[in-house]
Symmetry: C2
Subunit: 241 residues, 2 copies
């Protein structure tokens, strides 16, 4: 694919599967990509797949020369656009400590605040054990909490209702004929994120409104899982109107 007409320095915080999908795609689009982690040496020292069976980050990184690995802080500080790839259980703790580095910047957040608490999880078996519960849920959301913790940052909730592998490659499902939802309080930030999503291949990006819409996007996680089990493969949601 041709390099982006407007290359940016983009930080992806987190080294999991979702973050890797974004980092690889952004590199392909010609952006400068830096990945942030808690401790680079610990991350690179891992030699075994994680509990989800994902290959060690160092092995993955070897296939993407040009992607830099550094600390959360340095990654956030050097980039002009930041993607949160930290899982919903830890995102707020990490991001809350980066208020200075993230001030004035756009932060894309797709995290779902899953809680792996067996007492709150229900007994419906899933491929990863039992369906996790959400916290916060209903009366608040992770997206809103992140925005409150980072008042000088423009938080855009986006790509919550798909696997990130589909977010970065929408045309792998129904030739891209489905919908990507975004929400946030800053109109210009949403426009910039929408432009990035169009570069990913999205043709239908629907702006839901303010960051409070994170509630619905995160609470959709249960239905997303149920549909995924029923369909048994990649899928997308199209808002027909």
């Amino acid at each position: 694919m041709a390099a982006s007409a407007h290359p940016r320095k983009i930080a992806v915080l987190g080294t999991g599967g979702g973050g890797r999908a974004h980092a690889a795609k952004l590199l392909e689009l010609g952006h400068q990509v830096v990945v942030g982690t808690r401790d680079s040496q610990v991350t690179l020292g891992r030699t075994q797949p994680d509990f989800m069976g994902i290959e060690p980050f160092g092995q993955w990184l070897a296939d993407y020369p040009g992607i830099e690995l550094t600390t959360f802080r340095d990654a956030a500080a050097c980039a002009d656009l930041v993607i949160n790839g930290i899982d919903g259980g830890h995102a707020l703790e990490v991001l809350g400590g980066l208020a200075d580095q993230l001030a004035g910047k756009i932060l894309i957040d797709y995290a779902v605040p899953y809680v792996y608490n067996p007492e709150r999880a229900h007994p419906w078996p899933t491929p990863w054990g039992v369906m996790p519960a959400l916290d916060p849920v209903d009366h608040d959301s992770l997206g809103e909490r992140i925005q409150r913790a980072l008042p000088a940052t423009k938080v855009v909730k986006a790509g919550v209702t798909q696997e990130q592998e589909v977010v970065v490659a929408p045309r792998t499902v129904a030739d891209g004929d489905h919908t990507l939802l975004v929400a946030g309080d800053d109109a210009d930030a949403k426009e910039q994120v929408t432009a990035l999503l169009r570069a990913y291949g999205w043709t239908d990006v629907l702006d839901l409104g303010p960051i409070v819409c994170s509630r619905g996007m995160e609470m959709y996680a249960h239905l997303h899982c149920a549909i995924g089990f029923a369909v048994g493969g990649r899928f997308g949601i199209k808002v027909v109107r």
Copy 2:
């Protein structure tokens, strides 16, 4: 439209907009339709639109000769298939008292357990005030509670992710090219409900699995509202795969 090849006696419990949509459509399809209410005389005695601006039931009923109005109990007792059109805040209380009348029957439930508690609602203005909260949410669902309260009834959660006006007339949105989700513990009951939904005009009915999937269907309510405000009109959700 031609009368159904297999006319049934179907009860719709509740006299609100959703129940009326089903009752009218079922009558059109040639079924025998009885609507249940708490007190027929009170229901017929209303002469003013309700707080949602819906016309008094008696006025509506005058346009549908053939639809019978009776008590919840008598409606449930006489029908072989029952649709719950009672709002999510009152459904469990009413249905729990009808265990004998509903035993052995299929109960279709599309209710969302909205709680109109200002302390739990959030301050995002909506056409009806503020976004209501859900109870139960996340670790349980109204669909599951109804099934637990009525162990001899086959509860099928269906049509939760659309307005009922769209559920009974799917072709009014994108010529019907969207998806209707069902869930429940009884496979035969889901097949019978799917047949009814196909008579409504649905071509893509997706079975999510057991009644626990009610959680995701009900929790989607927040996203449904957000999409509705963004789109500003009727819409549907298509699961592309």
